[in-house]
């Protein structure tokens, strides 16, 4: 593996470990301001949406907003099934079948 890859992974280890160890290892001297806790609650939705949207509307860097874009259509199917059923795995499987069918037919 390249040095760049090792640097990326080791850096990820450090930030992840420091966060996990914060209270367990360093004890009760730490306190979270309520505003930070509040802000954190929005992070998952914000980050994940920011990743999904460009990948879905422009797979491979080319914007395609039509339903002939299997990434866009499949993502909408995954979101809809998950919204209805609250079952992540089922949603992924259903959307993958739809995605595969669209690519195979295209």
């Amino acid at each position: 593996m390249s040095d760049m890859l090792w640097a990326a992974i080791l850096g990820m280890l450090v930030v992840t470990y420091v966060v996990r160890a914060s209270f367990i290892v360093f004890g009760q001297k730490l306190r979270f301001p309520p505003a930070v806790v509040q802000a954190l609650s929005h992070v998952p939705v914000a980050v994940l949406t920011a990743i999904v949207v460009p990948e879905a509307i422009a797979p491979g860097g080319h914007v395609n907003l039509s339903f002939s874009n299997p990434y866009l259509f499949g993502t909408l199917v995954a979101a809809l099934v998950a919204w209805k059923s609250r079952n992540t795995l089922a949603a992924v499987l259903v959307s993958f079948v739809v995605f595969g069918a669209m690519r195979w037919l295209a």
Binding site: L5, I9, H42, P44, P54, G74, T75, S95, F96
Partner: protein
């Protein structure tokens, strides 16, 4: 001794639904790393030494997309900050553990094992909490690393795996994780903001658009929160 052993076994057993549930994602992750053009060792290293599911998935996208190191690290930090809340929540129990176990145990703190451990503390209490926690986390960890290796092996063996569209699995998984939360105004506004900014900022180098979009989403969320607090105060609730 046998009490400790049975507590460790109970930890393993109570975690099984989550261990099984995350297995397909471990396989997909391993395959995805290889299909993104990264070496199989990278998949193993990420699972074995970072051990943070969603951050691992996102890092594939960032690393193969040529993101700058600070963007990769900062994104990982932001995504994993929630673990500090778990760390704080278990601290009253873990403070009685010997330091080496606290240092090691912190590494294995995940969403899944935290949920299992919390439940144990609420139902059984603090008795044999350490062996229970280790039984839960170590079995979960080994399963995650093992199936990542299987995925990476398959990715390496199956010809043309890069063209199978496996990258869609990550997008679908994230979409399926977000969607169920979109049932009230604030999360919908957060998602809409982050999504639009990400779209508009797509051309920015080093994947900076991701940070910008996430930040915009969080700011909108906080503005809506403070507006709601003001309304509550005005109505005198």
């Amino acid at each position: 001794m046998s009490d400790r052993f049975s507590a460790a076994f109970a930890g393993l057993r109570d975690t099984i639904p989550l261990t099984v549930g995350t297995t397909p994602f471990a396989v997909i992750f391993g395959t995805l790393v290889v299909s993104a053009g990264l070496p199989p060792e990278a998949a193993l290293a990420l699972s074995a030494i970072v051990f943070a599911g969603s951050a691992q998935f996102i890092s594939i996208n960032l690393i193969s997309g040529g993101a700058a190191l600070p963007v990769i690290w900062l994104t990982t930090l932001v995504i994993n900050l929630r673990h500090a809340l778990y760390s704080a929540a278990v601290q009253p129990v873990t403070k009685n553990w010997p330091l080496p176990w606290r240092v090691l145990g912190a590494f294995w703190l995940t969403d899944e094992c935290f949920a299992v451990f919390e439940r144990r503390l609420q139902t059984v209490g603090e008795r044999d909490a350490l062996p229970y926690y280790l039984g839960s986390t170590i079995s979960f960890y080994l399963n995650w690393v093992g199936w990542t290796a299987v995925g990476a092996y398959l990715g390496n063996r199956i010809p043309g795996v890069a063209t199978l569209g496996l990258d869609f699995a990550m997008i679908a998984t994230f979409a399926a994780m977000i969607a169920p939360q979109l049932r009230s105004l604030t999360p919908v506004a957060v998602a809409a903001t982050a999504g639009s900014v990400a779209w508009m900022a797509q051309g920015l180098p080093y994947k900076l658009g991701l940070m910008l979009a996430a930040l915009a989403g969080v700011v909108v969320g906080m503005l809506l929160d403070s507006r709601r607090r003001r309304l509550v105060v005005e109505e005198g609730v």
